[in-house]
């Protein structure tokens, strides 16, 4: 473990800023087949809802240039089973705390999930996904308006003492307004970005590849959008940011931290290369040497200097 990689999120010191993103790492233990997952900064667990969900019909996956679309639709066993089955399985192979990602289709559902997560020692940060574009939750998501984003933030903050990070949707006109609303409502941090809404069509049939037509587009292709939004939000709020979107290399981690991220999450790339987080953590020290970076924490927001 390299001291130079340490970063701190709301008082929680991580060994390094590398966190697999929610939905691309299950509840972590699947990856113990590939490497010792205790080397990770933390793990953002699969988006959890009050009830068990199967999610959307298949096909749920489409390939894009340097990215992919998913329309998984929050498949998960429901919060009670996550707590009674998934977390215990994870604890057998993993000794750190997690970034627990929760989602909901009503304020009450968020609140209930947050309450239950609050009682879990393994939860280091509560990451509240107000943005999932895959789910037909009756109209637009909570994440597209400052008011509803603030409402969820306040409601969740009221029932937990864990640091609350609101995970923002990029499919909005003014992401800064939404981040500010979350800050004012008491959020402890911002996770950004969730997937862009995208679609692909089958060359042979002309039909949508995804059963639900549209899905969440992510991977290296979206990185410039993520970098831009992290940069904008860093300028506007004082909260720590977990930077997400298209990260696939140690170079990308550094670039995202320059933009303003304190830590990063890595999503789609885990699916294409299950070793990517390990490779990045191993590569960071020598890359820092090449770039004359003494401590990673020195470079957070360097682009703004």
């Amino acid at each position: 473990m390299d001291e130079r990689l340490k970063v701190t999120l709301s008082g929680w010191e991580l060994d390094n800023p590398v966190i697999p993103a929610s939905g691309t790492f299950g509840f972590g233990y699947e990856f113990a087949d590939f490497y010792d997952i205790n080397i990770l900064g933390s793990i953002a667990t699969k988006g959890t809802t009050r009830e068990a969900r199967f999610g959307n019909p298949t096909p749920r996956i489409a390939e894009c240039e340097r990215g992919m679309i998913n329309a998984v639709g929050l498949q998960n066993p429901g919060i009670d089973k996550v707590i009674s089955e998934e977390f215990p399985k994870l604890k057998q192979v993993y000794q750190k705390k997690v970034v627990a990602n929760v989602s909901g289709f009503s304020k009450e559902e968020y609140v209930e999930c947050a309450k239950k997560m609050d009682a879990q020692d393994i939860v280091g940060i509560l990451e509240v996904n107000i943005s999932c574009p895959n789910v037909h939750g009756g109209g637009m998501s909570f994440g597209v308006s400052p008011d509803t984003a603030a409402e969820i933030t306040r409601a969740v903050k009221a029932v937990t003492t864990k640091p609350v990070y609101i995970k923002l949707s990029p499919n909005v006109t003014d992401i800064v307004a939404i981040a500010k609303a979350c800050e004012e409502a008491g959020a402890d941090g911002i996770s950004m970005i969730n997937t862009l809404l995208g679609a692909r069509f089958d060359l042979r049939t002309g039909r949508p590849i995804i059963a639900n037509v549209m899905g969440g587009f992510s991977g290296p292709a979206i990185k410039p959008v993520a970098l831009r939004m992290v940069y904008q939000v860093y300028e506007a709020v004082k909260l720590p940011i977990i930077g997400i979107g298209g990260i696939a290399s140690a170079e990308d981690v550094i670039e995202m931290m320059y933009a303003g991220a304190t830590a990063v999450e890595i999503g789609a790339e885990n699916l294409r290369n299950p070793y990517v987080c390990k490779e990045i953590i191993e590569r960071l020290p020598s890359l820092m040497d090449e770039l004359n970076i003494e401590k990673l924490s020195d470079i957070i927001g360097r682009a703004h200097q």
Partner: protein
């Protein structure tokens, strides 16, 4: 390079039938425990890997058979012997013929669902079983591997949709005609074929499924299907599911 990402050397790569290629790979096969498992092939300039079933294997390597249907399989077909193929390995549960006590078993394959049945036939024979094999293809030009199955000592039956060789019709027609509806079965092929086999048979069986995959190793939930015992990931709890688990109806 992570240890489950393996480099294989291509020994041969040749055109077996219309758009269908057989590729022999030299490299690690120690991870293969059951026929019907698969690997995930890295494609240059494509974001996701491509799942392909193991057709056959020995201590030196393995064989895959694939059909050119798009960018990735096209690229595979253009590789030359001596070149390398990168694959993520150790994927899928595979067939478990040992769960059936019966000696006589039915193997039903359609199109590029045929390859995993070859390794399965060998495994069955090793377990002292007598496999009856029904292979279905669209037309004469698509046929491959009949002789390979026969050479193993299997009883092989053939159907083509257009009747250009073998029985005209579907594999399920052959099942009925030949009175094979009471044998424990193993099936791999397109979804309509799997459903037809499942409907036609009165016995239990194992079905190998396909789905568009994100990861192939259980992380993304991209490939899930609903079963009697809850959601299953085709790549992890599958691709082989028991006929008793599917949520279809008999009519």
């Amino acid at each position: 390079m992570g240890e489950r990402i393996k480099q294989y050397r291509i020994i041969s790569n040749w055109n077996l039938a219309d758009q269908v290629y057989e590729m022999e790979l030299e490299g690690d096969s120690s991870w293969i425990t059951h026929p019907g498992q698969f690997l995930n092939v890295t494609i240059d300039n494509a974001y996701l890997k491509r799942p392909i079933s193991i057709c056959d294997w020995n201590e030196n390597g393995l064989t895959i058979i694939y059909k050119v249907v798009g960018f990735g399989t096209k690229q595979m077909s253009q590789k030359q012997p001596g070149e390398r193929l990168e694959c993520l390995v150790g994927l899928g549960n595979g067939f478990t013929p040992e769960v059936f006590d019966e000696k006589k078993v039915l193997l039903v394959g359609g199109g590029v669902g045929v390859p995993p049945l070859y390794g399965l036939a060998k495994t069955c024979l090793k377990q002292g079983k007598q496999p009856v094999v029904i292979l279905g293809f669209t037309s004469e030009k698509d046929i491959f591997y009949i002789k390979k199955f026969a050479d193993l000592g299997c009883d092989v039956k053939l159907s083509t949709n257009d009747g250009s060789q073998g029985v005209k019709g579907f594999v399920s027609d052959v099942m009925v005609q030949e009175g094979l509806t009471n044998l424990p079965y193993f099936a791999c092929g397109p979804m309509p074929m799997l459903k037809a086999v499942w409907r036609t048979s009165n016995a239990p069986g194992q079905l190998s499924f396909e789905e568009r995959m994100g990861c192939g190793f259980g992380a993304c939930m991209g490939c899930s299907c609903e079963t009697i015992s809850g959601p299953k990931r085709i790549c992890k709890e599958g691709p082989v599911l028991s006929s008793q688990e599917v949520l279809w109806t008999k009519d």
